[in-house]
């Protein structure tokens, strides 16, 4: 398709920023799908607020990626004119909303990682990443609080809410491993202290998630096999459908603004 960006051969910092931006945007878009469908008005606004936090993070990261790349791609070009194979988001965040429990479990698994991640990235010598991270950490802290409180009440609620929360956990658990992956794209950045070593965040994530699950009376899945590939552009079938909706306007009317 004409107008599609070519970012495959870009510098590691561009890839790194795109991975973070794509993950934030796709999760933000997923949450925005609840607008008009949330179980109660209060949650409609809560999920919308979180979606806007995430989309705001994505915008800042896309702008930075485009600036570092230096090929004139603005945030809209990066968000709306790349195809599924060029997206670098975690597989976890592109999984469908499912029922409310599935959305909450997805949010807990991601936010329990995002908060310590942004806290660590806020110490990066890269001033732009550090500034974006400092803002995002406060947002992620609330996202974790919000989803965590819900998970406790769903898990330790009625028989039905417990069953649904456990089913969501069992289904999404295999996507958690990708949170802690690190590859050649990041090695040099981590060595320079610019990027965060995600493996170092694993003990904190495991403790926080285990504490939440215990309070929610949910059983941690025993699954040892983990899904992988999102950060290299290998996605589940769900991402294409999401992009078809999200990118429709810019694909049909390139450059449209309002």
């Amino acid at each position: 398709m004409s107008g599609t960006c070519e970012t495959a051969a870009a510098a590691p910092l561009v890839d790194y920023a795109l991975r973070l931006a794509d993950t934030a945007l796709i999760l933000g878009h997923r949450l925005s799908e609840w607008i008009g469908h949330a179980p109660v008005l209060e949650e409609e606004l809560a999920l919308g607020n979180i979606a806007l936090d995430l989309i705001g993070e994505a915008r800042a990261l896309y702008s930075y990626a485009g600036e570092v790349e230096g090929k004139g791609h603005d945030e809209d070009a990066l968000a709306y004119r790349r195809d599924a194979g060029q997206f670098r988001n975690l597989l976890l965040v592109e999984q469908p909303n499912g029922d409310f429990a599935q959305t909450i479990v997805r949010q807990v698994l991601y936010s329990a990682f995002a908060q310590p991640f942004w806290r660590a990235l806020a110490r990066s010598p890269d001033a732009t990443l550090a500034a974006i991270a400092a803002k995002a950490e406060k947002e992620a802290a609330y996202h974790l609080r919000h989803a965590g409180e819900w998970l406790i009440r769903l898990g330790d609620g009625t028989e039905e809410s417990h069953r649904r929360a456990q089913a969501a956990l069992d289904e999404l658990w295999p996507y958690a491993g990708e949170l802690f992956e690190r590859d050649a794209v990041e090695d040099a950045l981590v060595a320079a202290g610019i990027a965060v070593d995600p493996a170092a965040l694993r003990p904190e994530w495991e403790k926080n998630v285990a504490d939440l699950l215990a309070e929610a009376t949910l059983r941690p899945p025993a699954s040892s096999w983990m899904q992988s590939g999102g950060r290299r552009g290998r996605h589940s079938e769900h991402l294409g459908h999401l992009l078809a909706t999200m990118q429709f306007l810019q694909r049909s009317y390139p450059g449209a603004s309002w």
Binding site: P39, L41, E42, L45, A46, N49, Y142, H146
Partner: protein, 95 residues
């Protein structure tokens, strides 16, 4: 959503230091912690707040609108309770 599992809470927000908490509306929530979150998400989206109170609506004792004559009518004739009733002597200057 039932009133039993998701009762009503009244929301009070203090916008700045030195101001009182003001009633801004209500939310439905399962318990106090969730009510606080809901209040934050519904009522502080434009930087309105520094502090939030939530109170179970059932804990509020309200006056009966049918008794408004008895409750409020008697004050209507007591105009001397308003500062504007009094003439300030010129010597006092601006107050």
């Amino acid at each position: 959503m039932s009133e039993k599992s998701m009762p009503l809470w009244e929301v009070f927000i203090r916008a700045r230091n030195g101001l009182a908490h003001r009633h801004v509306g209500s939310v439905h929530a399962a318990d106090a912690a969730m009510a606080l979150q809901a209040a934050r998400d519904v009522y502080t989206r434009r930087g309105e707040g520094l502090s939030i109170w939530v109170v179970p609506s059932g804990a509020i004792t309200a006056s009966d609108p049918a008794e408004k004559d008895m409750m409020f009518e008697p004050t209507g004739s007591k105009i001397y309770r308003h500062p504007t009733f009094y003439k300030v002597p010129d010597d006092v200057g601006n107050m």
